[in-house]
Every structure is written in C-alpha cells, then in structure tokens.
Symmetry: C2
Subunit: 256 residues, 2 copies
C-alpha cells in the first residue's frame, strides 16, 4: 500500500521543493510508482519537473475543490513512473476560499483517498507557512519529512513545527508521525552548520536521516532546465545524496 | 518625514529578515531613527534583534487588532535609535482572524499612521507568502524592497510579486513604488548567480541596487547571538554590504 509523505517546514528556502522533486525522481528511478503533489502557490515543484507554470491548465486547486478529477489534473514527467499534480499562483486564493468551506483541513485527504493506492509513494511539497495548504498536507499524510538547513533561524522554527504536527495528530490525523528531519545544504567546513547538526541530532535522536544532503550548486542549476538532478547531472554530489536518501527511505532505515 | 519600506518576497529564504535587521541597524548607526516591524509569525527579526520569542508578551498581533497601543508593544534594541515591534507565532492566527475584519488589508496602515513620524525609516519584515500579513505591509508602505537570491526558483517568482505590487498600487495604495531589487547571498564564482544577476538587471533596469550583498557566513552566525552584524562582526564583508546599502538608500541613489 502507498505511503503519503508531506515535505514541510514553514521556514523558507530550506530545500523542501528540491527534496520533493529529487527524492521523487530517485524513487521513480528505483521503479517505485511515485506522485508529487505541489500545494505551494509558487509552483516550483511544477516547473522543476518540466512544466512551466503558464502552461498549466488545471491544477491542484481544481482537484481540491472537486472542479476536476485526478486524471484531468495529473501530468506525466520525463520519468515513466513519476507523475505530478501541478500547482499555480492562483492557489493562493484557495487559502481564503477554503476558510469558508466545511472540513477545510481535510480536502486533500478526501480527494486523494480514491487514487493513493495507484502509487507506492506520494510526496506533497508544501509552501513556507503553516496555513491551510500545509495543514491539508499534514492531514492527508501518513508522515512528515522536515528538510532543515543547518542555520540558526531554521533551527528556531523547528519546535513550532513539531508542536503543529502534534496538534494535527491530536485533532485531525492520529496516524501522523515524523518520517525524519533531513539535513540539507550541509557544508561541513562551516562550524555553525556542524553545531546545528549536532543540536538537531541531540534533540531528535533517532529521527534524523543518516543521509545528509551536501550544498551542491548542480542542485540549484537543474530547475532552470526543468529536470531533476538525476537527468541533469547524475554524477553530482547532490544526485548521490538524493539516491542515498531514497534507498534509506525504501529500506525502512528511515527515522522512527 | 518618514519612509515606510516593506521588505517582501514570497520566495522563502532569500534574505528578507537578514536585510530588515541589518539595514535597520546600519541606518540606526548613521543616527537615523529606525523602526523594524516584524509581521512574520516566524518572528526571526524579533530574535535577530535580541528578543527571544518566548519573552515577547505583547506583539504586532495586539497592535494590529488594537488590543494594545504602540508604546505597550514597541521594544528597544542594543542600538539607541533602533526600535522593534515584535512578532510571535500566534500571529499566524491573524491571517484567519483578519479575514473576517473590515478593511482587513489596511490594519497596519491605520495603526502606523499616528506613530510613523517619530521615525526616519520604518522597515517591515514580511513572511514568505502573499497573504494578508504581506498585503498589510504593502498597503502601509511607501515602497517595497525585494531581496533576491540569484537562483532560478527565486527569479521565477519575481514576476508574480511584481504583479501583486501593481495590483496593490491600483486598488489599495496608489503611492506604492518599488524601492529596488537587492541581490543577496551573491557568489561571483557561481555562473548561475551571474546569469540570474544579469537577467534581473536587464528586466529591472534602474531598479536594482548597486550594492550587492555577498554570501558571508558571519551574517548567518549573528542571529544566534541575537545581534545585527554591526555588533557581531563589523569587519565582515556582510557588514560592509549592509552599511553600503544604507548609504545608497540615504543618499537617494536607490533604484527608481
Ligand atoms: N543542497 C543544495 N545545494 C545547493 N543549493 C540548493 C540545495 N538545495 C536547494 N538549493 C537551492 O536553494 C534554494 C532553496 O531551495 P528550495 O527552493 O528547494 O527550498 P524551499 O524550502 O522549497 O523554499 P520555499 O520555502 O520558498 O518553498 C533554491 O534556489 C534551490 O535551488
Ligand atoms: N548574505 C548572506 N550570506 C550568508 N547567509 C545568509 C545571507 N543572508 C541570509 N543568510 C542566511 O540564509 C538564511 C535565509 O535568510 P533569511 O532568513 O534572512 O531569509 P528570509 O527571506 O527572511 O527567509 P523566510 O522566507 O523564511 O522569511 C538564514 O539562515 C540567514 O542567516
Ligand atoms: Mg519550495
Ligand atoms: Mg524571514
């Protein structure tokens, strides 16, 4: 059966989209049937997987409000076993539109229920906030993966994210667990990064992935070609990092 | 008379908070009376200026909803002429609470009107979204400064931000103009960064600051000491960058 994983962190620029796109591509390369759902109005995962935002006709917005079915919205990618539910900037309007709808936090869980079993992994890329779009992802998910840049401001926000996850577990999604914290953009020469990494491993013992994603400029170049790193530069350190992460996730060595 | 500048970009992690805190400190060091208003529920500008989030009793949330006066909310900092209106994570609730209030986009402009003339510069640090909190900043502001990391995803979001600024100008704040785009975390050895910088200067001719903020690890270390770079490492490249930016802003050489 399928595993739905929300990629979430309200801190901006920590590598959520880069993780959603490249972990999904690595899982697809290992022949797991994989779906990326982009619930960020920035629609970076959408363009990162080769679909320019201006070309997107129907999006996750239509699917959430049941104006379109999954098969009318889902797109293919360059990888056979990887599909995408795209986003658009118009999704920002959903935050306000959803406030007035009943059971507003579980729209995604509802529409995903009938299609999730077509996939082994469903990764949901979240915006940098704890608003209704991220809440929908947390309610629909089995677990949460938290990309974390090893910097002070990112560390500061972690406890607030964990509280939010616990509140969602208590009230809306009892099965929700933390898949793990993923250290991203890591530069071992930087003492602050090492200090933050040590602190996170202390606080979240057993819930931090072994795999650490290094800072690697090739990861930031790949999106301008609309391709995951696997299809842009398979030899790069960034690519090796996400292949390793996929392996760790598939073998269940992931964080508790 | 005072200048109110919103520091905004819905792309996460581009240096909004780092710019708000360090530009403000540089202006204060030049004896300009300066106020930072933190409207991001992450409250990074608040802790970056030495006020741990758990110590904040009253915040911008109370001021916006007129439950507290400016003088009950504003805090001092280590710099004589720099004050702060702090944020708290509870502010995330304001996005939903403000939806139901009349004239919800102009709450900040209303409460700021009676105090803005006590300051030469008011900088508003925005969250990574185009929701009601950022809209409040855009309606209250005279101009918008847009920190931009020289990366592909950040560039992609720029046109959407400019559209939003133009919509706010047409409907809610006719005087709003773009103070300028500020290139941040710039590493000249990186060809993608140079390409993005060239593209931005092409698109926004005359509206890009001369000053470019280099990537400098000291800027990411300073917040863990709750101090702006000026009080953490005045010799650093990052500090020189923000002092230069303050000078460019004060002499009016800023972008059109
Ligand atoms: N390991 C890495 N090495 C180098 N650059 C990276 C790495 N991971 C991500 N980046 C780049 O850093 C920037 C931020 O990453 P990304 O956009 O994935 O973060 P995000 O958390 O999704 O941001 P947002 O909060 O805006 O959604 C992007 O320009 C991306 O290309
Ligand atoms: N010029 C720089 N050189 C090195 N590190 C920097 C620089 N500017 C900012 N940083 C670091 O990069 C990270 C992102 O910066 P910052 O938090 O200021 O961005 P932001 O746009 O405010 O993020 P958010 O979207 O979450 O509000 C922080 O950890 C910060 O310390
Ligand atoms: Mg993203
Ligand atoms: Mg910030």
């Amino acid at each position: 059966s399928s595993r739905v994983i929300a990629i979430a962190n309200q801190k901006g620029g920590v590598g959520k989209t880069t993780t959603a796109v490249n972990l999904a591509a690595s899982l697809a390369a290992a022949e797991r049937r994989t779906l990326v759902i982009d619930v960020d109005p920035q629609a970076n995962a959408t363009s990162g997987l080769g679909h320019p935002v201006r070309d997107v006709a129907r999006s996750v917005y239509d699917w959430l409000l049941e104006r379109a079915a999954f098969d009318e919205v889902a797109l293919g990618t360059e990888l056979q076993t990887l599909r995408l539910v795209p986003s658009t900037p118009a999704l920002a309007g959903a935050e306000i539109e959803l406030v007035e709808v009943g059971a507003r936090e579980s729209r995604l869980r509802t529409v995903l229920a009938s299609v999730r079993d077509r996939f082994d992994y469903v990764l949901v890329d979240c915006p940098p906030s704890l608003g209704l779009l991220t809440l929908n992802a947390l309610v629909a998910a089995d677990s949460v993966m938290v990309p974390l840049q090893c910097e002070y401001y990112a560390l500061e926000g972690l406890s607030h994210l964990v509280e939010t996850i616990e509140r969602v577990r208590d009230r809306l999604n009892p099965a929700l667990r933390v898949e793990g914290v993923l250290l991203t953009m890591f530069d071992g020469r930087n003492s602050l990064a090492r200090e933050v990494a040590d602190e996170v491993r202390g606080h979240f013992a057993g819930r931090v992935f072994e795999t650490v994603i290094p800072r690697n400029v090739r990861l930031s170049e790949a999106p301008s070609h609309g391709r995951p790193i696997l299809l842009y530069d398979v030899q790069s350190k960034g690519c090796k990092g996400y292949l390793e992460l996929a392996k760790e996730l598939m073998t269940g060595n992931g964080a508790a």
